[in-house]
Symmetry: C2
């Protein structure tokens, strides 16, 4: 296995960091590799916010579903799907006048642009993760940056045409850290050939077997199986409700 | 620079491939690394479709904004944001009965789930890109898979709770290929410290200087600057209109 595959295959979500700031040199290398990520039409429809201010990181640890480990991260990167920059640039380029002259309709960022810029932002984020990992800097994705939009808009000075899609906490691996990776679902349930395949009940029983065997019938949710636990803890949880509320407001701002 | 950074930093979007199928061993390695990508709550809210059928790849080259080079790719991977699998699994787990007993509201996939699963899918896609690159297999993202939803739904047997967010064409680098990377915008315009910064007209002039200096005043769009060209070719183009139409229909299916 080559070194790059080794980095990809052994990466874990790190939630405990060495008490040591990220060196400027390493941060520069991470950001350089981030910006080498593929981007639609070389347009770079994203922005990276580098957060080092400890007070701000503490606030984020609360606004991102109250996760205290976030506050201990020496570095946070926030990835914004960004059509504000291009919208402002087009304005600077007299785009409305041009469209009028050419009898073209001028429109601001669409939902299509939203998904393209979200793609750009996440692809760049994953380059940051891998660059960091190769430097012995662990990371954890915080999807909860999609919650509490109003708080983040104020805290991070976000204009309307910017959508915070991902956040990373970063820090050096603690010395002697055990990097045991978590098992994933079997490939036969995630990768299909030529077309999509709906799974059967038997497929699901097999797919979840490695989790089901550790199922605790005396769980806090009074759940009878893994699916009911997953719904209670994830899809039907309070944080999921908050994310849904917040995301819908972000979409409204995007489409203003 | 370590080997991984070297792979990240020198990757180009490859649109011309060696006439040689991807070996089974390499495909397995790519898919393994793909599935090691970080995923929200280890839930793997995505599906990868492996497309080798040449007829299908040719159809995709037409439905994805008529790009003939796609038809020459020996392998295509399509990344689906997927809440169908979990929706079906929750059903299999008697989720509605459980919610009724617990007086919880049951809801299907929300917009929050859409953005989480899109994140999962794109993060996995970038792992595929980097794994491939480390094996001398080049790739190109095709965001145009978001167009022509109805055609792709039929061709790929897509259920409602699945959103095709990204596609990759893959193939070995041609022998002796010149891997010259494209310049990106300056870091000062893409990476901000602590909070978002709107750029000024002067900032934009500087940011686009390396492109503006090659501006051709006798262009096909009768555009007076780079922004007007970008709007004509990208944001205001026919393919952008089609993407917007298609994406809005996908969102409707998701929320059915």
């Amino acid at each position: 296995m080559n070194e790059t595959l080794n980095v990809l295959n052994n990466r874990i979500s790190l939630r405990r960091y060495k008490d040591k700031p990220i060196s400027e040199d390493h941060l520069e290398q991470i950001l350089y590799s981030t910006m080498r990520a593929p981007t639609a039409g070389n347009m770079m429809l994203y922005t990276v916010l580098v957060i080092k201010d400890q007070e701000k990181i503490e606030k984020l640890s609360k606004s991102c579903d109250n996760q205290p480990f976030i506050a201990k991260a020496p570095l946070v990167l926030i990835f914004l799907a960004d059509m504000q920059r291009w919208t402002d640039y087009l304005q600077h380029c007299d785009i409305k006048k041009f469209c009028k002259e050419k009898e073209m309709e001028y429109h601001g960022p669409t939902n299509g642009d939203l998904f393209l810029s979200i793609s750009d932002a996440l692809i760049a984020a994953q380059n940051a993760v891998i660059a960091a990992e190769s430097l012995n800097i662990g990371s954890c994705y915080i999807g909860d940056i999609m919650e509490n939009y109003e708080i983040h808009k104020e805290m991070l000075n976000l204009p309307d045409k910017v959508f915070p899609i991902g956040m990373l906490t970063l820090g050096y691996y603690p010395d002697g850290m055990d990097k045991t990776t978590k098992p994933r679902f079997g490939k036969e349930y995630i990768v299909f050939e030529e077309e999509y395949k709906r799974l059967s009940g038997e497929d699901f029983d097999n797919m979840f077997q490695h989790i089901s065997k550790n199922f605790n019938p005396n769980n806090a949710f009074d759940a009878k199986n893994i699916g009911q636990i997953a719904y209670s803890r994830k899809f039907g949880s309070d944080f999921a409700k908050e994310m849904e509320r917040s995301v819908n407001i972000m979409i409204k701002h995007w489409n203003k």
